[in-house]
């Protein structure tokens, strides 16, 4: 009986993996943004979707975070189907979108406080929790300053604090270091790395910085034109190509071009939003 119920609702309690995605298709008009991908993420794993702009990474993430509907296929988060149980799924996810999403007209504290309220943190825990995540992200001293006075790296850390305030079971990071200078980039990755080491949080991220994916992820998927071209641990993908290969070489091998050459192939809106993010970061 229990098994039947589990099957009927699509959730199998014993095996509820952080993410299960099967045969996902998403089209925008004639454009097949995601064209039949399947993957799963193990508990505690850092899983990276790699690919140029327009590869379908962000679209995949938007389905997973309940923002858009899939045309075909099924995605579940900890056993909850993203369409049917959207509210539950949202409750479990911490999401950092590609664009800079902090509100510049509020202080750092208020930005995180807003999300603490939107995730229904009990009133008695709220203030303590907001201060905690701000401290973890090293924003203690500046929490009462308006965000418009923050540097790009500080804004990204603030957004991480927002994404963490509800103690998400799954952290979703869409191009977390886009537009940042190398130092700020290294800092953001360092924080993600230590979060992961200390908490064992499951992380799904997208990036087009190969060396970062290599250093941080347990497994990566190379995505191009809405499809997976390869999937596996960075070590295995590299060794399959021969000694001394980098993840960049792996990408070139599977996609037939270096990722930089493809950068302009993303949709107009995608490129525009990337540039805007970079611009806002100064």
């Amino acid at each position: 009986m229990a098994a039947e119920v589990a099957l009927a609702t699509g959730s199998s309690p014993g095996l509820a993996l952080p993410v299960v995605c099967s045969d996902l298709h998403v089209s925008f008009g004639a454009v097949r943004a995601v064209d039949g991908i399947s993957f799963h993420i193990e508990p505690g794993e850092v899983y990276a979707l790699l690919g140029p702009n327009g590869a379908g990474k962000t679209t995949t993430i938007r389905v997973l975070t309940t923002l858009i509907a899939a045309d075909q296929g099924e995605v579940s988060v900890f056993g909850h189907r993203v369409r049917r149980e959207a509210m539950l799924v949202r409750h479990l996810i911490g999401y950092l979108p590609q664009q800079l999403s902090a509100d510049f007209g509020l202080t750092g504290y208020e930005n995180v406080w807003l999300f603490a309220r939107l995730f229904d943190l009990p009133r008695r825990d709220r203030e303590r929790r907001v201060r905690e995540v701000l401290a973890v992200m090293g924003l203690d001293d500046v929490r009462d300053r308006l965000v418009r006075t923050y540097s790009g790296g500080m804004i990204r850390r603030l957004e991480l604090a927002q994404a963490l305030v509800n103690r998400p079971a799954l952290l979703v990071l869409d191009e977390p270091t886009i537009g940042l200078d190398p130092l700020a980039r290294a800092d953001v990755w360092e924080r993600v790395r230590s979060l992961r080491e200390e908490t064992g949080m499951t992380v799904l991220m997208t990036t087009h910085y190969m060396e970062e994916a290599d250093a941080l992820s347990d497994r990566v998927a190379l995505m191009h034109h809405g499809r997976f071209r390869a999937e596996g641990t960075p070590a295995r993908l590299k060794s399959a190509l021969g000694p001394g290969s980098t993840l960049d070489d792996v990408f070139r091998h599977h996609v037939g071009a270096a990722i930089e050459d493809e950068e302009v192939s993303g949709g107009g809106r995608d490129v525009r939003s990337t540039r805007r993010t970079a611009q806002r970061l100064g």
Binding site: P13, G14, L15, A16, L17, F28, P43, R62, T65, T66, L67, I68, V77, F78, G79, H80, M87, L88, R90, H91, L92, I93, Y95, L96, P97, Q98, Q99, L100, S101, A102, D103, G105, L106, T107, E110, L114, F115, L118, F119, D120, E132, V133, A135, V136, Q162, L164, R167, P168, A169, R191, S194, L195, E198, T199, G200, M201, S273, R276, T277, R280
Partner: protein
């Protein structure tokens, strides 16, 4: 950096089942509206420049248009009511309309900047998100109540200062602004671009204002315009404000009913278009 501080909630206490407690909708909905409302208050507190700039418009309308038309005696007013007194509730509603009708720009800005995406990925029902935004617009517009009240003292307009009436006035202005901001967000959901929204906003603001009882009594209008005015929530808002502030005969219950219905329809319409903005 301490580990326990950011640890995820125990997801695997029961193997594989993620624990999440969602409050029931009747607690969540008002809580979200209050949240957006508080955030708007914070924003106003951090940057009051818009508030001051917005105060210019009602001042100009009452001082220039109001004074001139008072002297012209062109517009019939109820017995014993000066034209300035008759006009000022209309200007209160109008200046709130002008703020609310461009609120959709904020939604488009939030969409372009990624704020909206992130809000929509939180456990916030679409209806609650839009209601929250609509009442945030209401808060911003309610500042105009204060502006016109202060002006009324300067211009020696005799208002009813009964606190209950003033609270009701604020409530009606908030409701009116909530409706017009929903209208604006609905248009935002259709046109999706700031420039187009500006264009549509400009195009409908004046007709909304002139096809209402804000400047002149409905009975001086031609029949077709009276029909438009009767379908315009603005007219009901002004009717209520006049009744409360200068004691002209008004149908408060009807006004309230129409505005509540209009807000409900507006929230539903813009919430149904929200997924278009999320794409």
């Amino acid at each position: 950096m301490s580990a326990a501080r950011v640890a995820p909630r125990s997801v695997s206490a029961e193997p594989g089942i993620a624990v999440a407690t969602l409050p029931p909708w009747w607690r969540m909905y008002p809580s979200r509206v209050v949240t957006f409302w508080l955030v708007e208050l914070r924003k106003i507190r951090h940057d009051r420049s818009e508030l001051y700039l917005r105060a210019v418009q009602p001042v100009l309308w009452l001082l220039i248009f109001g004074e001139t038309f008072s002297h012209l005696r062109a517009i019939p007013t109820p017995k014993g009511v000066s034209y300035l007194a008759y006009l000022s509730p209309g200007i209160m509603a109008q200046s709130a309309l002008f703020i609310a009708i461009f609120f959709g720009i904020q939604i488009i800005w939030e969409r372009d900047s990624g704020i909206l995406t992130k809000l929509m990925a939180t456990p916030t029902p679409r209806l609650a998100l839009i209601s929250g935004k609509a009442f945030a617009a209401g808060v911003r517009s309610a500042a105009q109540v204060v502006v016109v009240l202060v002006l009324s003292v300067v211009l020696q307009i005799r208002f009813d200062w009964n606190p209950l009436h003033l609270i009701a006035v604020a409530a009606f202005v908030v409701l009116g602004a909530a409706f017009f901001s929903c209208l604006s967000m609905t248009i935002a959901g259709i046109v999706l671009h700031r420039e187009r929204l500006m264009g549509v906003g400009q195009a409908i603001t004046m007709p909304l204002f002139f096809a209402s009882n804000a400047l002149y009594p409905v009975r001086v209008m031609p029949g077709w315009l009276q029909g438009l005015s009767a379908a315009n929530p603005m007219s009901y808002e002004v009717d209520a404000l006049r009744g409360l502030l200068i004691g002209t005969p008004s149908s408060l219950l009807l006004d309230l009913g129409v505005l509540v219905l209009a807000v409900t329809a507006g929230v539903a319409a813009s919430a149904s278009l929200l997924p278009r903005l999320a794409r």
